[in-house]
């Protein structure tokens, strides 16, 4: 093994260690699939000369990567997990960055009548009642964890033929929902940037319970001395700066804003970003 490593390092050393000024961020597929990073990160790199390498996985796996010290920072969206991560001492300096919200999407025909429901809990109840097909991520991602919490709040433990756990990312879940006319829960960003909607439509949104905040956490250098804490902190400082927050707010797809910056005021109800929540019923 060592011989192989040495060999590879000799042959390819130049390109694997091309830039020492880089950080690795473990993040979620929802932010990556939305295209936010492609839009945001080049600006940061141009300003600071620091390259940002994003490994986009489910929140559960992202937490694991950071916990193992394989990333310098973490940008995810599941507050309870984040708090546990901080409490265990793996992470430090959590800051709010932005939010969007979760939405319930489903076939245009809406057999369960989700679009007529008051709130998300009622929407899920309707789906369960009608035993309409529902696609669950089933991958311990932030979205999946939130979905499970919602079912728990509705007092339903979903099972049966209509409830399908696919163990895959948001895009895969949307692709499947689109091809079998099923309901699913998505974050708004992925939904807006998703290009294979088919007959799917956003049926329910705007419930405060579906608030989806993203936070940045630095990996604790006391746990992992090799992490690039200074560079990671530079990134953290930048992403909550006025400049970056403005850029995040300006990121749109088809004239729809995807993320609402909230480093200054972390509550959804503060009205920082009303355009993100247009479908209050």
């Amino acid at each position: 093994m060592r011989l192989v490593l040495a060999l590879i390092l000799v042959v390819y050393g130049t390109f694997s260690n091309a830039s020492e000024r880089f950080i690795t961020i473990a993040s979620t597929t929802s932010t990556q699939n939305s295209g936010l990073y492609d839009y945001l990160l080049p600006i940061f790199t141009a300003t600071t000369g620091i390259e940002v390498r994003v490994v986009a996985v489910g929140t559960g796996q992202a937490l694991k990567i950071a916990q193992n010290g394989d990333a310098d920072a973490l940008l995810v969206h599941h507050r309870p997990s984040e708090d546990a991560f901080l409490a265990m001492g793996y992470g430090i300096e959590r800051r709010d960055v932005m939010y969007n919200d979760f939405i319930i999407v489903g076939p245009k025909a809406d057999p369960a009548g989700v679009s007529n429901q008051e709130n998300a809990i009622n929407g899920l109840e309707a789906i369960a009642q009608h035993a309409s097909l529902f696609i669950s991520r089933g991958d311990e991602s932030g979205t999946h964890k939130r979905e499970s919490e919602m079912w728990a709040l509705a007092g339903i433990s979903p099972n049966g033929d209509w409830y399908r756990e696919i163990g895959a990312g948001m895009g895969a879940a949307l692709n499947m929902a689109s091809s079998v006319d099923a309901y699913t829960i998505s974050d708004r960003g992925t939904w807006l940037s998703f290009n294979n909607k088919g007959t799917l439509e956003m049926l329910l949104a705007g419930d405060a319970a579906l608030f989806n905040p993203y936070g940045i956490i630095l990996v604790n250098p006391q746990k992992h001395p090799h992490v690039k804490i200074d560079l990671a902190r530079t990134f953290s400082d930048w992403i909550v700066s006025d400049e970056a927050q403005k850029i995040i707010g300006a990121f749109t797809i088809q004239n729809m804003q995807l993320f609402c910056p909230n480093a200054k005021s972390p509550k959804a109800s503060d009205g920082v970003c009303p355009t993100s929540v247009p479908m209050q019923k």
Binding site: V4, L7, V11, Y12, S16, T24, V54, D70, N195
Partner: protein, 232 residues
């Protein structure tokens, strides 16, 4: 626009990002093939030539390893290279180096088995002659590998094709980082998950074209090699 048209346009436009992705794919898989071959070819030949303790066990293990799903290989390499793992201090998780290691491990048993199969008939033909000449083990290895080279290269290309086509291992150990560890297959997976099915398919066609090229090469090489084989 048709998907084929889109694929053609992707190739013709030689979009810098696509060129980078294809280039990285080829570089990673080619290097992995060379590294795997460095070990697999002599060992495969040795398995064909000599009887030694645990030879059968080795053959069974190496043949079984061919069935290993890339994602399992990726996971093993991931656990080894993670900072929490035994080789963590090298800091090479989520780099092309990690992808090369994973693919080397993945295709090692393929190149090994195909080399062994390539050498077996040549060794059967040559054995008495080489024995009579008292050919040394190293010289014997060199002679048999050289004279079976067309079949050996075929195995090597099969390994390369497998490396180029797999997604499970590289996405785990490479992390699919844009502009750094993103290769053809992980791009296809990503674009599919974004619902960009046509773009994904167009990329798939580009990958397929490369595969066709490789297979044509295999075919050409082995038909060239047939001339030198005794039909008797």
């Amino acid at each position: 626009m048709t998907i084929l048209g889109q694929a053609a346009e992707l190739v013709v436009s030689a979009d810098a990002e696509l060129v980078g992705i294809v280039g990285l794919s080829l570089r990673v898989s080619l290097t992995a093939t060379l590294i795997a071959s460095l070990f697999a070819i002599p060992l495969g030949a040795a398995l064909a030539i000599w009887q030694f303790p645990f030879r059968q066990v080795l053959i069974v293990i190496s043949t079984s390893l061919m069935a290993l799903p890339p994602v399992v290989v990726g996971l093993i390499i991931y656990l080894l290279l993670s900072r929490a793992g035994p080789l963590g201090h090298y800091g090479i998780l989520f780099t092309p180096t990690a992808m090369i290691i994973a693919q080397s491990v993945l295709i090692f048993p393929i190149v090994l088995a195909l080399t062994r199969e390539a050498i077996l008939p040549v060794n059967r033909d040559y054995k008495n002659l080489l024995d009579a000449w008292d050919v040394s083990p190293v010289q014997r290895l060199k002679t048999l590998i050289w004279d079976a080279r067309f079949a050996v290269v075929t195995g090597l290309l099969a390994g390369f094709g497998r490396a180029l086509a797999e997604v499970g291992a590289v996405i785990i150990v490479g992390g699919n980082i844009a502009g750094f560890t993103r290769v053809m297959t992980t791009t296809i997976a990503l674009e599919t998950s974004k619902g960009n099915l046509e773009l994904a398919l167009a990329l798939g066609i580009v990958l397929l074209s490369i595969a066709i090229l490789i297979n044509a090469l295999i075919h050409w090489i082995s038909s060239f090699g047939q001339k030198y084989q005794v039909s008797r």
